[in-house]
Point group: C2
Amino acid sequence: MILTFEQEKRIIQTLLKKLNASGEEAGIVAEVLGEGDLRGFGSHGILRLPYIIRGIKRGTIVPQSKIKIVKETLATALIDGNHGLGHHVAVQAMKLAIEKAKKHGIGAVGVFNSNHFGIAGYYAEMAIKENLIGIVITTTDPLVHPWGGVEPILGTNALAVGIPAEPIPILMDMATSVASRGKILEAMKKGQKIPEGWAIDTEGYPTTDPEKAAKGALSPFGGVKGYALSFILEILAGSLVNAAVGKEVHGTLEPKSFCTKGDFMIALDPQAYTLVEEFKSRVKNFIVELKTSKKAPGFNEILVPGEPEFRTREKRLKEGIPIADEVWNELKQISQELGIDLNYLKDLG
Amino acid sequence: MILTFEQEKRIIQTLLKKLNASGEEAGIVAEVLGEGDLRGFGSHGILRLPYIIRGIKRGTIVPQSKIKIVKETLATALIDGNHGLGHHVAVQAMKLAIEKAKKHGIGAVGVFNSNHFGIAGYYAEMAIKENLIGIVITTTDPLVHPWGGVEPILGTNALAVGIPAEPIPILMDMATSVASRGKILEAMKKGQKIPEGWAIDTEGYPTTDPEKAAKGALSPFGGVKGYALSFILEILAGSLVNAAVGKEVHGTLEPKSFCTKGDFMIALDPQAYTLVEEFKSRVKNFIVELKTSKKAPGFNEILVPGEPEFRTREKRLKEGIPIADEVWNELKQISQELGIDLNYLKDLG
């Protein structure tokens, strides 16, 4: 099945509104999931909608709940997401960070009592659109082993940093595991082996067997340095912001009970340090320097963070977004239960 | 040669004061270089003193110069280091960040026109001592190739994050290259091979020959993700703060002309989000969870970021700091030129 961006968004919006989400909430979730799929982050796209809908039905994700600002200074805030849709909570948190950055150079906002929010890069890009630098950190259920350990304790803790630049912005958006759990499950389904280094088995040995990997733990990227980074992110977007850490983080995969993860977002105004046009011009020169330097064997170009995803986005805006049959069938099933004809929605174009 | 921490500091202070550094400046440089050596960061210890002294003699490092705050908001500042001793400039920058964090929850200070400042972790630890979180980023001369590239364009850009915790703080302090250039030069001197993955030759092929590596480029840790992180750090501590990036960064190794690197430091007050005691207790619980989890084959404990260095520090405080003969001989030579008897200083104990 191929969906256009518009079709995907309409489907998400319609289903969520049927489940009591406001137009604004449904619009934001549709936008963020759609952007995830456009950019090739399939595990953070419409595939997530059934999880969200199950959460809403269980009452662990609560549409139309209002966020509360629990603590605030001129440059910081802590937000209680009140179990709202993670994407909607995150948009409000980044808006607040942006507002503070515009007034005081920097805004740093923590979030707890929220839910899985899709691609972290979406919120970093909100800052980019205001000519600000955006930094987004979020935690997940425990999936990654510590350095020297075997048990999954750390999340795949994502770090996104967006930097305004021409002609396209810089947008790093990465998990701190080598690979995602989704890729391991995909290999399992296809009967394929996984590359060594992605994961360990329950005894702590590296494995290429996706079944053993799924029972074991994902490995942090970059060895002990990646472990250290993931550890720090877990504290910043966990302990610091009133959210859980380690094995107490749950609800980012299947929201069976209230989700306990946290987020930490920073917006930073280049104008507090330099002129924004000068900043952008310096970044552009740096990109040119990198791109015109000698290529390594097997490479015909050097890419900057975010570039591969923006290319996939351009392509999918034209050619559409491939949706796996099982995801489509699951969406059909859910739609039926809600009295909605999915094919009718799709055929609206 | 083995020096005590006190001996090392006295030597550094005496030599720098002879070269017109103020007592405060000399004391700070001695403290930071000494802490570098205590923690096992030999490349950032007293080994650096000859570089600093050559810079002072050339006039590219200027003792007793005053920093200027070029731009400032309640939560941010940009500092012109006026080519002062990097350690002294960095201490003032972090003090300003701390002051802002205590008032407004966060302080983010950029620095340009400064010099190599030793271990980044020292300044992150300044924040820890005030019960704040400290983040320190700094750039270096181009040594690291971009992903898909061959030329050294990126610095080994360091990222340090300090988090107040009991019984010892968390202190991540890492370069974004797999290994340091110092380790490659050491292997070259000893006639040893280097592990694959550390560096590439001038054609872009991974090499285990340190001579080829020294002519080629260091590799970023963690593949394309480490490249992305290093790229972002270069922009934050470079383009953003009025400093150079890429091949225009120079002076962090041998300060032949004014150093063009930059620094970016953040202090963040946990009290802006939660109670500091609650924060520390949550972090402690997380450490306990990690340390009591199952160990991987070949490991009998799980360490947190900073722990190996704090252990080396304890050991060296008792047993002294090993100083390589060639470093000692170079220091002797320099001391003689300044009319100082190095052995006399050492024998003061």
